[in-house]
C-alpha cells in the first residue's frame, strides 16, 4: 500500500500558537484505499495537523500536495470542494438544525427555477437524500428532520461521520470518531471506516483507543511533541510497542 503514490501529502508542516510549537516540520501522507492511523499523547499535535489538512487553519510553513499537485487552502470550503472531508474533534454539527440541514450545511440544495435563484431551499429533497445517504453509510438515525439537539451523543457522532463519508470523494479525516461511543457504536464506526477504504478513499484515523487503531489501520504515524516520532505498517506494531512509541519509552517499533 505504501508503495502507492499518495493521494494527499503534507511536507514540512509547522504550526505555532504563540510560544507553543504544535507542529514541527511534519511530513505526512495517505494513499487511496489506505487507512493511516495518527496517534500520540494529548497535545502531541494531532488535531492541529488535522486542521492544517482540512483548511481550517493555515500552517506557518509547509506544503500540501493533492494528487501530486501543490494545493493551498485559504478556507475550509476549498478543501471540501477538492474532496477532503473532515470529522473534527470539536463538534462540527449545528445542534439547533435538523439532521438533514447538517448533512447539507454549506452545500444546501435549492428548488429549481426562479425560486431557487432567490435561495429557496429544497428541504424535502434534502431530507430524503440525507436519510438515504445515512442508510447507505450504514448509520441508523431516527429521522432526518429531527433536530440534532434531540439526539444522543452517539447518534450525533453517527450523523457527523455519515456526513463526512457521504461527501468525501478523495480523503476522509476522522479526529477521534469513537470518542464517547459505546462498544457497539464503535464497532459501527470501524465498519464505516473499512467500507470507506473499500470505496478507495484515503482515510486518516485518529484515536486514543489503540485496539481500534490496530484493528482498522494499514499504517500508523506516531506524533510526539509536534514531531513524527515513529512511522511503520500496522503489522509491525504490537499493543505494547505502540504504547511505548506513544509515550516515548522506546525509539522505534
Amino acid at each position: 500500500m505504501t508503495a502507492q503514490q499518495p493521494v494527499y501529502e503534507a511536507r514540512g508542516i509547522s504550526k505555532r500558537y504563540g510560544n507553543v510549537i504544535a507542529l514541527d516540520d511534519v511530513d505526512f501522507s495517505v494513499a487511496a484505499g489506505e487507512v493511516v492511523g495518527l496517534v500520540g499523547d494529548n497535545g502531541a499535535g494531532k488535531s492541529t495537523l488535522v486542521k492544517a489538512l482540512s483548511g481550517a487553519h493555515r500552517p506557518n510553513s509547509g506544503e500540501l500536495y493533492l494528487d501530486g499537485e501543490r494545493v493551498e487552502w485559504h478556507s475550509p470550503q476549498q478543501a471540501l470542494e477538492a474532496g477532503i472531508e473532515t470529522l473534527y474533534q470539536d463538534s462540527s454539527l449545528a445542534p439547533d438544525l435538523s439532521v438533514s440541514a447538517n448533512m447539507f450545511l454549506g452545500r444546501e440544495q435549492l428548488v429549481p427555477g426562479f425560486w431557487g435563484k432567490l435561495g429557496f431551499l429544497a428541504n424535502k429533497r434534502m431530507d430524503e437524500v440525507a436519510s438515504q445517504e445515512l442508510q447507505n453509510v450504514g448509520i441508523a438515525v431516527p429521522s432526518s428532520t429531527r433536530s440534532i439537539s434531540k439526539l444522543s451523543g452517539g447518534q450525533r457522532q453517527a450523523v457527523a461521520i455519515g456526513r463526512a463519508v457521504s461527501w468525501a470523494n478523495k480523503v476522509i479525516i476522522l479526529d477521534e470518531p469513537t470518542n464517547h461511543l459505546g462498544a457497539r457504536q464503535s464497532a459501527e464506526v470501524l465498519h464505516v471506516v473499512k467500507a470507506a477504504r473499500e470505496r478507495g478513499l484515503a482515510v486518516i484515523f485518529i484515536s486514543h483507543t489503540l485496539p481500534h487503531v490496530l484493528e482498522v489501520t494499514d499504517r500508523i504515524v506516531v506524533l510526539r511533541l509536534g514531531k513524527v516520532s515513529v512511522e511503520a505498517p500496522t503489522s509491525e506494531f504490537t499493543p505494547d510497542t505502540l504504547v511505548k512509541a506513544i509515550t516515548g519509552l522506546s525509539g522505534a517499533a
Binding site: 482540512s54 481550517a56 478556507s75 475550509p76 470550503q77 471540501l80 470542494e81 473532515t86 473534527y88 470539536d90 463538534s91 462540527s92 454539527l93 449545528a94 445542534p95 439547533d96 438544525l97 440541514a101 447538517n102 450545511l105 454549506g106 452545500r107 444546501e108 435549492l110 432567490l118 435561495g119 429557496f120 431551499l121
Partner: protein, 308 residues
C-alpha cells in the same frame, strides 16, 4: 394569550384602550418597533446583538428631516425631496450596518461592544447635526403619507412594515440565507468548517439590521412630520424585548421573525397602555427592562425543562 390578557387588563383600566382609533395608534407605534425587532432577530440568531438600532432610528429620522428641509428650501419639489430624504436615511442605515459588521468581523469586537460604540457615535452625531432641537418644517405630504389611514388602521408605513415582515419571515425560514443565519448562531465553528463564509454573512446581517432601523426612523419621521433628536431612545431595548418575548434565544440559533413581530406587538401595546393609564415616559424603560428579564427567565425555564 399574553396579548389577550394584556389587552383586557388595559381595557379595564382605560376603556378607550380598545377602540379602533387607539388600535390604529398602537399599530403606528408597533411598525418601527417591529422593524427593529426583525433586524434584531437576525442578529440575535447569529449569536450577536445590535444595541445601535435605536440610535440609528434617531439619526436616520433627523437625517431625512434635514435633507427634506434643505432640499425643499432650495425649491425642489416635495416628491423629489422626500425621495432624497428616504435615500439619506437608508444610507445612514447601510453605513452604520457596515461599520457594525466590520467591527464584529474584522476587528473581532464582541457584538455588544461594537454596537454600543456605534450607538454612542450615532447619538452624538444626531445631537451635533440637529443642535439638539427638533427639525420641523416638512412639507404637508410627509405627514399625509405617514398618517393617512386606510380602513381606519393601515397607514402606508404600516403596510410597508407588514410586507417587510412577510419577506423577512420567508427569508429566515425558507432560504439558504436563513439557514446560514441559524447555523452561525448554533455553532459558528460548524458553520465555518462547512464552508459558510461567516464573516460575509455577518456583514449582511448587520447591514440588514441597520437598514431596517433606518426604515423605522423614516416611519417615525413620516408620522410626526419632524425629526426629533430624542426619537429612538431606548429603541434597542424595545427591539430586544420584542425579540425575546417572541421566543428568540439570546444564546443564538433559535427564533422566528413572526415571534418577534408578535413580541413587538406586545411591547408596543404595553407602552401605549402605559401612556393611556398615565405612566410617565421615563418609567416606561423600567417596564421594558422588566419585560426582557421576564422573557429571558421564562425561556430559561423552558430550556431546562426541555433538557431534563
Amino acid at each position: 394569550m399574553v396579548f389577550a390578557i394584556m389587552v383586557t387588563v388595559f381595557s379595564i383600566l382605560n376603556p378607550r384602550y380598545f377602540s379602533t382609533a387607539s388600535f390604529g395608534n398602537i399599530m403606528q407605534d408597533f411598525a418601527p418597533v417591529m422593524l427593529m425587532a426583525i433586524g434584531q432577530t437576525f442578529v440575535i440568531i447569529t449569536g450577536g446583538i445590535d444595541l445601535s438600532v435605536g440610535a440609528v432610528l434617531g439619526l436616520s429620522g433627523v437625517s431625512a428631516a434635514l435633507t427634506v428641509r434643505a432640499t425643499t428650501a432650495n425649491g425642489i419639489d416635495p416628491g423629489l425631496s422626500i425621495a432624497a430624504g428616504i435615500g439619506t436615511a437608508l444610507l445612514v442605515g447601510v453605513l452604520v450596518g457596515v461599520i457594525n459588521g466590520l467591527l464584529v468581523t474584522r476587528v473581532n469586537l464582541a457584538p455588544f461592544i461594537a454596537t454600543l460604540a456605534t450607538m454612542g457615535a450615532c447619538m452624538g452625531t444626531t445631537l451635533v447635526v440637529t443642535g439638539g432641537v427638533q427639525i420641523a418644517g416638512a412639507p404637508a405630504e410627509v405627514v399625509q403619507i405617514g398618517n393617512t389611514r386606510y380602513l381606519d388602521v393601515f397607514t402606508a408605513p404600516l403596510l410597508v412594515a407588514l410586507v417587510i415582515l412577510v419577506v423577512a419571515a420567508v427569508v429566515l425560514s425558507k432560504t439558504r440565507f436563513g439557514r446560514h443565519t441559524y447555523a452561525i448562531g448554533s455553532n459558528v465553528f460548524a458553520a465555518r468548517v462547512a464552508g459558510i463564509n461567516v464573516k460575509r454573512h455577518l456583514m449582511k446581517v448587520y447591514v440588514l439590521g441597520g437598514v431596517l432601523a433606518s426604515i423605522a426612523g423614516l416611519f417615525v419621521y413620516f408620522r410626526l412630520g419632524s425629526g426629533s433628536p430624542a426619537s429612538g431612545r431606548g429603541g434597542e431595548l424595545q427591539a430586544i424585548a420584542a425579540a425575546v418575548i417572541g421566543g428568540v434565544s439570546l444564546m443564538g440559533g433559535l427564533g422566528r421573525v413572526t415571534g418577534a413581530a408578535l413580541g413587538a406587538l406586545i411591547t408596543a401595546s404595553v407602552l401605549s397602555g402605559l401612556i393611556l393609564i398615565g405612566v410617565e415616559p421615563n418609567a416606561q424603560q423600567i417596564v421594558v427592562g422588566a419585560l426582557i428579564a421576564v422573557a429571558v427567565a421564562v425561556q430559561g425555564i423552558g430550556r431546562s425543562n426541555a433538557g431534563s
